[in-house]
Symmetry: C2
Subunit: 415 residues, 2 copies
């Protein structure tokens, strides 16, 4: 939680931190400002103090909605900084940061955060390091930065926002299921759209985006809607021109966020329209069994990677390759069991076998569980995913319920 | 154009460049890969050679759609890199980059690009610089990086994509105008929604997002739809709970991009519903006159900032403050006349008075022209903006036509 930031700063011996960039698509800046139309801003926080936000003069109105102390960029005269830097705009930026640090009384070990242009910031902070020899600028591994540690546990307001995204997500999934099962079927094979032509992945995705927008969600990362061979490649998002066919596995992995940036939800179902091949049904049943085993065994304060090991062992018993004994497998179980969800679609805790032991199911953590099996050469793949809140009372609560049907009955076709 | 990259690399004495991050919301990576679901990738380009793309093993399918040579990350064993780095994951990443450079035969002056986590990349490249003493890692100012120079001129395929976004943008603007003018009006003042309650800015924005999604556009940066005082603050995006009222200036600045990231369009109209106050009408007429003066005077190969000076002079003649004689004005004309548009909503050429002389209206450039006048304390603001393509034959072509009506007649109200 936000209140953990100062503790983590102390653990890391940081005297201050600086966050750079926009308030959207930039989780640390969003976390401290609450988002909004704030671009190319700079936030400085001394340990134990409230952050100060430097913003574009024209965005002072938006920036003040953050509730933080706002200082317009115009406070520092760009022309004179550029003159002082003899025309080197990167050095002028370094001078500007230096003035900010002086004005905020900041020096010592300073952490650098934010999603922004890495080339210019590398050049600026390399210069700044030379200008401020009494300070040390440090960066952390993205996945284990102090922000990721703070964001790892959510307060009730954050959980409510993720839950709301879960409701929107499952509403859209339900609409997609209704739409697909209402389609006419040609030659016992192809789904047809309203205009009588075969339905494509692109057609389905445009409806998904429309429904998400209608319900107030953004979809910055896109949607995985992959059929047949693509469903066997976990991160194939689906081929736009592929046709919707009966009896093929469809992996539908949807991970929208609040419109304008904000909290994500993460959800997957696998469907087979009309009927399933025995091979696909067997694969689905295996994944479902493991999904339930994980769900029923999630324990408060257990290391998350214990469940990765469990899933690998279960799948290996059935003869599938997994990362436990096969480095980077390309078929079988090829990823990890889950990850935290919040302002980042992937955040702490992580569940890789190599993840550190402090990735645990602490109270307030929100995680996915998403076992899957992938056989691209057999043209099939299966994944089932829900998002869980680790409640302070130890109960693992699914934040949005949705049925687990694999075969979806077609309303206008049957055998 | 893309073919300018090697020339610019030569000008900057770069032996190679490295681009880091996702293919979406990361213009240099999008530019070289064509976008798609490629996350946390690394692209290395030697001067004079085709780029090589290192990607997540699970995203090799998506990455191969780029047409580039793709090397899966699994080529380098993370566990042994981490062991070699004695558990320092940032040093392990530096080792990994070093191996890539060795395998690609790259050393010398290497430019660093991409939108990503600045903290971890600063830490990694600081370590890498120490590991590769025969090379020098450099960053450029974002707005004037070699990518911005290359992207500055568009080929026909890029212009066609921007034009298509212009068509979508103006279609949505037309729908918004139709919707607003069809509303019922209460007490000669408030617009009402279908349910009889007063219409809010949030209501209008949710329709905008819906229509954009329906037509295949994304809206990652949001929309400015600001009424009254907010319309006088150029970068206020509008207050969600503000009500739609007759006779107030509404600045509607819409800048969507292709769904999934890609090319932007940028467009603004100012409206007053039902009627306009004489003060607002006068302000509108002044802006319109200047807008037309700029449009009619755009010259092939002219420095873009010449038009900023022209606009300042014209507005100052009428008694408005401008950046020409007032540093960072908060009322009057407070920004610059325009900017390039492409994979970045703001890119070269720039038109600030301080912009370098090489920001010129070269053939193939796509720019905005967007004069405006802002009086927040009087509760009004006006901006008019179109996007122009500087054609190779010297004609300045508006990429999407749309009428310039200021007062929109209400269908169910009149005086």
């Amino acid at each position: 939680m936000k209140s953990d930031l100062d503790t983590r700063m102390q653990t890391n011996n940081l005297d201050a931190l600086i966050v750079i960039g926009n308030a959207t698509y930039n989780p640390p800046m969003y976390y401290l400002t609450g988002g909004g139309h704030i671009t190319g801003a700079t936030l400085i926080k001394k340990r134990g103090s409230q952050p100060v936000l430097y913003c574009n003069d024209m965005e002072r109105g938006e920036a003040s909605k953050s509730g933080l102390k706002v200082i317009p960029d115009g406070t520092y005269n760009n022309d004179s900084l550029l003159k002082e830097a003899q025309g080197d705009s990167l050095l002028a930026s370094a001078f500007r940061y230096k003035r900010m640090f002086i004005d905020q009384g900041v020096h010592g070990k300073i952490g650098l955060y934010g999603t922004a242009d890495i080339g210019s910031e590398f050049a600026i902070f390399t210069r700044l390091q030379k200008l401020m020899s009494d300070s040390e600028f440090v960066g952390e591994s993205h996945d284990n930065s102090l922000f990721m540690y703070a964001m790892e546990t959510k307060d009730d307001a954050e959980v409510a926002r993720i839950r709301r995204m879960g409701m929107i997500t499952t509403t859209v999934v339900g609409r997609v299921a209704d739409y697909l099962t209402s389609c006419q079927v040609r030659n016992d094979e192809l789904l047809l759209g309203e205009d009588g032509t075969p339905l494509t992945i692109a057609d389905v995705k445009s409806r998904i985006d429309l429904w998400l927008a209608e319900l107030g969600a953004g979809n910055p990362e896109g949607t995985i809607f992959a059929i047949g061979r693509d469903s066997g490649i976990p991160h194939s998002i689906g081929t736009p021109t592929d046709l919707l066919r009966l009896g093929q596995t469809i992996v539908f992995d949807i991970y929208p966020c609040e419109a304008g940036g904000g909290y994500f939800y993460d959800f997957t179902r696998t469907w087979s329209l009309g009927y399933a091949t025995p091979q696909a049904q067997k694969l689905y049943d295996e994944v479902k069994t493991v999904f339930e085993k994980v769900r029923d065994n999630l324990d408060l304060n257990a290391p998350f990677k214990d469940y990765q090991r469990l899933v690998c062992e279960e799948f290996e018993k059935n003869g599938h390759q997994t990362p436990l004994h096969t480095p980077a497998p390309v078929e079988g179980y090829v990823h990890s069991i889950g990850h935290g969800v919040g302002l980042n679609i992937h955040e702490r805790p992580f569940s890789r076998l190599t993840s550190s032991d402090d990735n645990i199911l602490k109270p307030g953590v929100v995680i996915t569980s998403e076992p899957g099996l992938y056989y691209p050469e057999k043209g099939m793949g299966v994944r089932i995913e829900d998002t869980f809140w680790v409640r302070p009372d130890g109960i693992m609560e699914v934040l949005a319920e949705y049925p687990y049907d694999f075969v979806l009955k077609m309303k206008n076709w049957g055998r």
